[in-house]
Subunit: 155 residues, 2 copies
Amino acid sequence: MSLVRQLLAVELKSMQNSIAKAAIMTTESTHTLAVAHQAFTHFEQGLATGNWQAFFDMLTDDFSFWFPIGQFHGLNVGKERAIAFFHYVSEVYSDGITLTLDRVTSNETTVVFEFRDQGLMWGNPYKNRVAVSFDVRGDQVCGYREYLGSDGKSN
Amino acid sequence: MSLVRQLLAVELKSMQNSIAKAAIMTTESTHTLAVAHQAFTHFEQGLATGNWQAFFDMLTDDFSFWFPIGQFHGLNVGKERAIAFFHYVSEVYSDGITLTLDRVTSNETTVVFEFRDQGLMWGNPYKNRVAVSFDVRGDQVCGYREYLGSDGKSN
């Protein structure tokens, strides 16, 4: 094999490795994003209708979440705790709450959804801005952090 | 040119286009992430020291930000307003506040930083969780949204 061919072979091998690595990273990120989007669709449905089953089905048994305020403030560990929380949410917003999704950012394991929400809280007009951060493991969501961007009255 | 060669040429051209597109997207995302990281470093320095100049230098003149609470609650438009805000922040946390960065997510235009912070607020112990979302345009930050993940007492 000529020197030129050898150099070309080395160069091609290097390109193949780069493309393979990029493909694996892209595949992981794409999968994470797809799982989180599916979970977010169920989350949105839960907030609108009070039917949380499809969302619960996507949570790992060791699911944990951090909530900023109120009786669920701080770290909450385990799927049972999450079920109690989301049922409580649907008591607070008993007529359902609707979301307007503004932005989605992600990496290989985490996806952040920035949205505005509106509805009634205990029967009174409610508006807020929210960022929720979902951690994905396999085909499920294993963690969740919620952040509030407004005051419950404007968004 | 034989049929096989023609088919190979078409296939190679298609691969080149895919790689070029992926490269452009990756380059945009990488650039956005690099600009936001730089801005975040200056943001962190501002919070720690009260010296905000390097951060201000990275903001566009039409920079706007949304803050969740207090006298800057809601949408604030223009760099002058941002300068007033960050100087106010350094009055509130006059001994400086330190950050622990937990996660970074991004897309082609936006980067979200999830962090915990701690320090003194008006001289009293302060802890919180925060998500900040930076919008990047060119080599600058043109927008910013802040979301609070805790109560100012724990993180």
